[in-house]
């Protein structure tokens, strides 16, 4: 998960056009007073929302600090390494790439966006090294990216904070459904990657046997 607020290049255009379209459309439809109020009230709402988020977010990062210090996060990382080996059969288990990918996956699951992104970037770097810095993505890179963006997450901390700010009667009611939905998207991602891997492998095999016949 990329939670970094800055450096999203598309956002500069998106944001700019949102303001321009909103003001022009509001002027044409006679809603310009509402547009002015909307801008000011939304800015105020953002600050109130952040006060709720201060609580919920700090609660979660506090718990994660305990999990980090007690070695729980390290244990989780070790527990998923067989799964990682199955997903990335061509990456040597002791290679740095495997270590960074595992850290990235665990950080994503626990909602530690700020830890996930640096590990993910380092993983891509190590994978590039394994791929001899080819311009075409390796199978491991494709698999890693697809699984990364399928967004496996245990507890959607942000959404819970937003829901409680906007008066939900049960802000955490969506936790289990969100886990199921994210599992569905991740399982679909894994199946897709396995199919592509197998297809790639059998294509290579046929090519090899054809050249073998000729040679």
């Amino acid at each position: 998960m990329v939670t970094n607020c800055c450096g999203e290049p598309m956002l500069n255009y998106l944001w700019g056009f949102m303001i321009i379209i909103g003001v022009i459309y509001g002027a044409f439809t006679g809603n310009i007073q509402a547009v002015a109020d909307g801008a000011i009230n939304s800015a105020k709402d953002a600050v109130t929302l952040c006060i709720t988020m201060l609580g919920v977010m700090s609660l979660w990062t506090g718990l994660m600090e305990i999990a980090e210090k007690s070695g729980l996060i390290k244990t989780c990382t070790e527990k998923i390494s067989p799964v990682m080996r199955w997903l990335f059969p061509y990456v040597p288990p002791q290679h740095d790439a495997m270590k960074h990918m595992t850290t990235n996956v665990i950080a994503n699951i626990l909602g530690l966006g700020w830890a996930a992104t640096p590990a993910g970037l380092r993983a891509m770097n190590s994978l590039a090294q394994l791929n001899d810095y080819d311009k075409t993505a390796s199978n491991a890179m494709c698999t890693f990216l697809v699984i990364n963006v399928s967004s496996l997450q245990l507890i959607p901390v942000n959404i819970i904070a937003y829901r409680s700010q906007y008066g939900s009667t049960n802000p955490t009611a969506v936790v289990a459904p969100a886990i199921i939905a994210t599992l569905v998207s991740t399982i679909v991602a894994v199946i897709f990657c396995r199919i592509m891997l197998r297809r790639d492998y059998s294509a290579k095999k046929t090519r090899r046997s054809e050249s073998g016949v000729r040679g």
Binding site: C5, E8, M10, W15, M18, I21, G22, V23, G26, A34, V35, D37, A39, S42, A43, D45, A46, L49, M53, M57, L59, G62, M64, E65, I66, A67, K69, S70, L72, L121, N125, D134, K135, A137, L145, V146, N148, V149, S150, S151, L154, I155, P156, I160, Y162, R163, Y166, G167, S168, N170, T172, A173, V174, A176, P177, T182, V184, S185, V188, F192
Partner: protein, 178 residues
């Protein structure tokens, strides 16, 4: 579906308890470490205040101008056929490009339709189960200096669609069972 909601209510308290128990077994000063970690959370939230102000303001302007309603009514005929409420479409599209812009739209939907309405539930579940695929893939590709991503985008789109379908189904089940 009631059972799923009940499980949801248990997950956070149980996870909290397990983390604390594990910490105490390992002789961690659990309270001190909690306070330490909470400071990081404070810093993270303070650093996103300007982002949230900027985005909620932009979405607030679009909402007040009536433009979001225009999009929803224009897309309504198409989306209604597949059981997806039209006001969600802008969110689901923006979600693939920018996570902060998607946050602005999610909050707008919560305000406009309520967190526990069908729209609010789909927005909650779908934003948790999807990712900013275009942004993440491009940043990671730059890191690995690759220009051809082969089947990455196809896989990411398929898994996003699967996550959205699952969100709509689960949210519909939740809102009809309660």
């Amino acid at each position: 579906m009631k059972a799923v909601v009940a499980v949801s209510t248990y997950i956070i308290p149980v996870v909290m308890m397990l983390i604390v128990i594990h910490g105490m077994i390992k002789n961690v000063n659990v309270y001190d470490e909690f306070v330490n970690g909470a400071k990081d959370g404070m810093k993270t939230v303070v650093s996103i205040v300007p982002t949230l102000i900027g985005l909620m303001m932009a979405v607030g302007i679009l909402r007040a101008s009536g433009f979001l309603d225009l999009i929803s009514s224009a897309l309504g005929n198409v989306t209604d056929k597949i059981g997806l409420p039209a006001p969600l479409l802008p969110l689901l599209l923006v979600r693939m490009f920018s996570s902060s812009a998607a946050t602005g739209l999610t909050l707008d939907l919560f305000k406009e339709y309520g967190t526990d309405s069908l729209i609010g539930l789909i927005a909650s579940i779908a934003t948790s189960a999807t990712e900013t695929i275009f942004f993440t893939i491009s940043v990671y590709s730059v890191a690995a200096k690759i220009t051809k991503t082969r089947w990455t985008l196809a896989g990411a789109l398929i898994s996003t669609v699967a996550g959205i379908v699952a969100s709509v189904v689960l949210a519909t089940l939740m809102s009809t069972s309660s």
